[in-house]
């Protein structure tokens, strides 16, 4: 069987979706009595150019797990997760137990409150995901997205994913629902907890001075060049230079990857939004 050539483009695809077309979470979005079955996918990817670990001859290395105690190599089935209740004493907790601990929160995102998106302090935002309609829920999905788009609102709820409960804000962007996980109130410290001094009386002139500085350096729009990943760009430049000079280049027979096929996150999302992904 001829080996498929991977293109540079597909290699830059997110590793987070190396798990394939499977969504991170599947469940039901509800508002009032309306329920919208949805699939949740990552809304961000890591572009930091991944460097591979190679051996002395340039051979790609593989990661292996082993027992600290017995030194024995471990396969996936030989490993579990445990909570450390005492020094070196663990209670094993399975993924299934974690899911059964809160059946409702594991399956439903119940939008019980809608708030002005701009009123959420950015301190709370954690990580971004996209929701795609599933099980023929396109109509209800579009209804919710369009209703929220018009009013610049975000629906607030909690849900459980990967054994953890999240506060989540759901809001539309270009007709698609974004789910932004947030930290809970007790996960954000207060200035007092941090030990910051309290505000004191200020000379009006000093405030004015800073206001003038702000005005002088203000722009209407955020310049996107500020958000460019310069470190990766520098790395890629160095790689390109060495490639042209044929310096430090090793060729090995490309082995099958441990992680399997890398799938383009955008492609998965596009299929999912077009309703071409069969519900599990």
């Amino acid at each position: 069987m001829p080996r498929k050539k991977r293109t540079t483009k597909s290699r830059s695809a997110d590793a987070e979706n190396a798990r394939g077309a499977r969504p991170f979470w599947s469940g039901t979005l509800t508002f009032g009595l309306v329920s919208v079955p949805v699939d949740l996918y990552p809304g961000q990817r890591t572009v930091r150019a991944p460097l591979r670990m190679l051996g002395p001859k340039g051979e790609p290395l593989a990661r292996r797990y082993f027992s600290e105690k017995t030194g024995r190599d471990l396969e996936d089935d030989d490993m579990v997760r445990g909570y450390e209740v005492d020094k070196d004493k663990y209670v094993i907790v399975t993924d299934e137990e974690l899911e059964r601990l809160a059946p409702e929160q594991s399956r439903d995102i119940d939008l019980r409150r809608f708030v002005d998106l701009q009123s959420i302090p950015p301190l709370y935002f954690d990580r971004s995901y996209f929701l795609a309609p599933s099980d023929g829920s396109e109509k209800a999905y579009k209804l919710l997205a369009e209703t929220m788009q018009k009013s610049d609102l975000a629906g607030i709820a909690t849900f459980v994913m990967r054994g953890k409960e999240y506060l989540v804000a759901i809001f539309p962007e270009n007709g698609i629902l974004r789910a932004e996980t947030m930290r809970f109130a007790d996960e954000i410290r207060s200035p007092k907890e941090v030990g910051l001094p309290e505000k004191k009386k200020l000379p009006a002139a000093t405030v004015k001075k800073f206001e003038t500085l702000i005005k002088k350096n203000s722009d209407k729009h955020l310049s996107l060049k500020e958000l460019k990943d310069e470190k990766t760009a520098a790395l890629l430049k160095l790689v390109e230079k060495k490639r042209k000079q044929h310096k430090d280049i090793v060729e090995v027979e490309a082995p099958e990857r441990d992680q399997g096929k890398v799938i383009d996150l955008m492609e998965v999302l596009k299929k999912s939004l077009a309703g071409k992904r069969k519900a599990a």
Binding site: G20, R45, E75, D76, D77, M79, R81, D258, K261
Partner: protein
């Protein structure tokens, strides 16, 4: 190599989007630890547990099973 067992890998063993600065491992974001001293991200394999050091006087420190001289 990419067999059935691989596909059924629990999510906490799968390759993720984050790169551990200590070991280069691509771990899932949801398994990430943060260093208490510098807030830097680290994977679950590399995280080092530190214990709060409590200061006690010799009277209070009695090794378990040992008789105190005091």
């Amino acid at each position: 190599m990419v067999g059935k067992a691989q596909r059924n890998r629990p999510w906490w063993l799968e390759d993720g989007s984050e790169t551990c600065p200590a070991c280069g491992h691509a771990y899932a974001y949801q398994t990430e630890y943060r260093c208490l001293a510098c807030d830097g991200a680290v994977c679950g394999m590399c995280v080092v547990r530190t214990v709060e050091i409590e200061v006690s006087c010799p009277t209070c420190v009695v090794p378990s099973g040992a008789e105190s001289d005091w």
